[in-house]
Subunit: 397 residues, 2 copies
DNA sequence: TCCAGAGATGAATCCACCC
DNA sequence: GGGGTGGATTCATCTCTGG
C-alpha cells in the first residue's frame, strides 16, 4: 500500500477503501459548534477556514454516523477507532458509537486536558476535550505504556510481596524467620485515561495556521498505543495533517482525506518537512518522551544555557555570549542524523548572528559513554554529551 | 428551614419538597455498573452495601429521569444541579439532562481526575469520573474561584496590557513613545473543569467504610462555586453523607435522603462529628514530594531505574533485578562525603535483600568529567556519574 | 454459552510508629 | 517530640473458573 493524501469528500473516498484493511482510524470531525472557524498563518499570508455550521443536530449526527459505519467496515478486526470531540456533542457521538461499534467494544473515554488562556464566560474554564476509543472487536491491538510511580509511593509498596491474612486483609509477606519477602520485578504505572498534554502554543513553529490543529504529541501517543510499525493509519478529516505527520514520524503508513484543497496542500507541505516542536514522544522502546526532555534539560542546565522550547533547530542558548553574540545549542534527536541536525542548527541560527554554534551529539547517553569522537568543522562545534564543561570548550577555540 | 436527614425513597421524598426552594442539588446515583457494592468498616465491625443491579438500561434511565424532573421543579431559578457519573452511562445521562433541563442550560462537564492503584485491564487505566453541571436557568448562581498562574507563565503576560493589531492578532500594547503599558491587576487563573483531587485513601480517617464514598474536598468545591452561606443543598442519594458534611462545614443548610437505614445512621453520626482528612498532598501539592533535581532524575533515567522519593538512603532501584534481587542506587549529595553516602545506602538497603548496591559519585556533573576514580568495595559499587552503562557494570562483576 | 462468585492484583496515600 | 519511614487497606477492579 502507498501513503495517500486525498482531496475529496471523506464519505465517498472511504467507500473506495477495502474492507478489513485499516489498523487505526482517528476522526477529528467538526464539534458541532455552529460556527465558521478560521485562522491566519502567523505571517498573515494565508487564511485557513472550515465551516462547522449545520442545518440541524440530526444532519450533523447523520454525517458522523455514516462515517462511523464506513469506518467499521474498513477496519481490521484488530483495529481501533479514536473519535475526538468536545463537550458540545460528545454524548450524542458516543450514542452513535455504541450503535455502530456496539457498547461492548467501548474501551476508554480519554480526557485530553490542557491549560488555556482564560475567557470571560460564566462557569468553569473549559480545558479538556474527549477522545473515545473503541475496538472493532475484543481482539483490538493495544500496547501498554508504563510511566513513573507517584512521588508519594513508598518503595516498599513496589518491592515487597504480599499475602492475605485470615480476614482477607492484605499484608506484607514474611518468611519463616519473619523476614520480608521481595516480590518480582515491576514495570511501572500503566498510562491512565487522563492525558495532560499542552495545547499547541500559539507561537509554536509546529503551528501551521490551521484552526483546531492538534498537538503532534497527542497523535503520537494514540498511534503508539494501538499500532505497530508498518500499520496503516487513516484520518478521514485530516485538516492540517497532524495525524499523517505523526504516522510518518513513527513509520506507519497513512491515508488522509480532506474536503478542502488548502488543507490538502498544507498537509502535503507538512509531510515533506515535518516540523516537530518537542522531542520525540514515546519512542518505541523503554524511553518515553518525558525522560528524553528531562535529559535534554539536564544537559542544557549543565551548560548554563537558556532553554528554548518549540524550535526545530535550536534547543537553547548559552547564557554567556561568545564574541558579543549568542551561542546557539542543539541536541541531536534520536530521529536525526548528525548531518541533518547540523543543517537544522545552521538554518535556525541564521538570523541570530551566532559566531558559534554547539551541536551536542547524543541520541542516548549510554551509547555515547565510550564514544570519544570530537569533530571540529566550520563554526559548528560537535561535543559529546558528557563533556559538559563549556569554559573548557571555549578556551580551546 | 431545618436541616434534615431523611430515611426513605428519594423520589417520594422529593415530591414533598416545595417548588423553587433549593439552591443546589448534587446527585451521585448508582453508575449502572450492574453489580453489588459493599465495603466493611476498617475494624470489620460493620458492612455497608448497596445494589446497582437493574433489569435494563431503560429501567435505570427512567429512575434517573424521574429524579431529574423533580430536581428541576424544586430548584430555585438561581439554582444548579450537579450529576455525578462515570463512563458507564455518562452519555445516556447527559441526554436525559438535555431533555429535562434543556441543552441551553448545560454549563460544564467537570472531570474529576485522580491517581489510583492499577489493575490488569487491557486498555488505559480508568482514573476519572464525570460531573455534569446544569443551571436551572441562565441566572444560576456562580462564583469564580481563582488559582495561581502556572510557573511557566511569562511575567510579561500577566503584567502587560494588550491590543489587537490590524489583522486582529493580539499583541502587547505600547504607548506613543513605544514603551510597554502595564495592565490592570489580574485575579489569577480561573478554576478549570478538570479537577485533580486525590481519591479517598484506604487508610484515611475520613473513610467511613461506605463504598464509593467521595472526598469531602470535591463536595466542598462544588458547594463553594454555586451557593452562598445559608443556601439549601439537597443530596437525594446521600449515602455516607459527604455532601451534608461539606454543607455543614461551609454553613449551608442541607437535606439528605437515602433508602438505606445504615447509610442514614452513618450520615447522622458523621454530621455530629465531621472528620476531614488534612491531606498533606493537597496542602503542599505533588511538587513538594519531588525532592530530586533534574540532573538526578536524568541520571536515574539513563540507568533505567525506578525513582524513589522521600528516602534518605536510596534514590532509586534498577528496573532489572540482579541475582533475582533489587539493586539499590544512591546519588552522592553535595553535602555528603563519600563514606557518609555509602553508609546511608547500606543502612537503607538492609531490609531490601540487595545483592548489589550502586553509589554514584557525583556532586556535580561538570566537576566529575575528568575524574576516573572507580572503587570497588564490599557489595557497594561506586561509579562515576557519566559511566551510565549498567550492563557493562553488571558484566564486570 | 452465560453468569455468578472466587481469586489475583498492585500502587496510592494517610497513618502510626519509631528513633 | 518531630521528622522520617514503613504499614495497612482499598478497588463505581479485572480475570478466571465452574456449574
Amino acid at each position: 500500500m502507498e501513503n495517500k493524501v486525498i482531496y475529496g469528500d471523506c464519505l465517498n473516498e472511504m467507500k473506495n477503501i477495502d474492507s478489513n484493511s485499516i489498523d487505526l482510524i482517528y476522526i477529528d470531525p467538526p464539534f458541532f459548534t455552529q460556527r465558521e472557524h478560521s485562522q491566519k498563518t502567523r505571517d498573515n499570508s494565508k487564511e485557513f477556514k472550515f465551516s462547522d455550521k449545520w442545518k440541524s443536530l440530526e444532519e450533523y449526527l447523520t454525517f458522523i454516523k455514516d462515517m462511523l459505519i464506513e469506518s467499521k467496515r474498513i477496519l481490521k478486526d484488530t483495529g481501533s477507532l479514536f473519535l475526538h470531540c468536545d463537550k458540545t456533542a460528545s454524548h450524542r457521538l458516543r450514542c452513535l458509537l455504541d450503535d455502530v461499534f456496539d457498547s461492548d467494544n467501548f474501551v476508554n473515554e480519554i480526557v485530553w486536558s490542557y491549560k488555556r488562556w482564560s475567557n470571560g464566560k460564566k462557569g468553569l474554564l473549559n480545558s479538556h476535550q474527549t477522545i473515545y476509543l473503541y475496538g472493532k472487536t475484543k481482539e483490538f491491538k493495544f500496547k501498554r505504556i508504563y510511566g513513573d510511580y507517584s512521588p508519594t509511593t513508598n518503595i516498599d509498596q513496589i518491592l515487597q510481596d504480599r499475602t492475605k491474612d485470615s480476614n482477607g486483609k492484605s499484608q506484607y509477606k514474611k518468611d519463616k524467620e519473619g523476614n520480608i519477602v521481595i516480590g518480582k520485578e515491576k514495570l511501572g504505572v500503566p498510562l491512565t485515561d487522563v492525558w495532560d498534554i499542552p495545547f499547541l502554543n500559539p507561537k509554536a513553529n509546529e503551528r501551521a495556521g490551521y484552526p483546531t490543529q492538534k498537538p503532534l504529541l497527542l497523535l503520537e501517543r494514540i498511534i503508539n498505543i494501538c499500532t505497530d510499525e508498518g500499520d496503516i493509519v487513516l484520518d478521514p478529516v485530516c485538516g492540517s495533517g497532524t495525524t499523517l505527520v505523526a504516522s510518518k514520524l513513527l513509520k506507519r503508513k497513512y491515508i488522509g482525506i480532506d474536503i478542502s484543497k488548502e488543507a490538502i496542500d498544507l498537509t502535503k507541505k507538512r509531510l515533506e518537512n515535518p516540523i516537530k516542536t518537542e522531542s520525540r514522544l514515546l519512542e518505541v522502546g523503554i524511553e518515553d518522551y518525558k525522560e528524553k526532555s528531562e535529559t535534554e534539560i539536564a544537559i542544557l542546565k549543565s551548560l548554563d544555557a537558556t532553554i528554548v522550547q518549540r524550535n526545530k533547530g535550536i534547543d537553547g542558548f548559552l547564557k554567556k555570549y561568545y564574541k558579543d553574540k549568542p551561542v546557539s545549542i542543539k541536541i541531536q534527536k534520536s530521529s536525526e542524523s548528525l548531518e541533518e541536525a547540523k543543517r537544522k542548527l545552521i538554518e535556525a541560527s541564521k538570523t541570530k548572528e551566532c559566531k558559534l554554534m554547539i551541536l551536542i551529539k547524543t541520541n542516548n547517553v549510554r551509547e555515547k559513554i565510550l564514544d570519544k569522537l570530537n569533530q571540529k568543522e566550520d563554526d559548528v562545534k560537535i561535543i559529546n554529551s558528557y563533556e559538559l564543561d563549556v569554559s573548557k570548550i571555549l578556551s580551546e577555540l
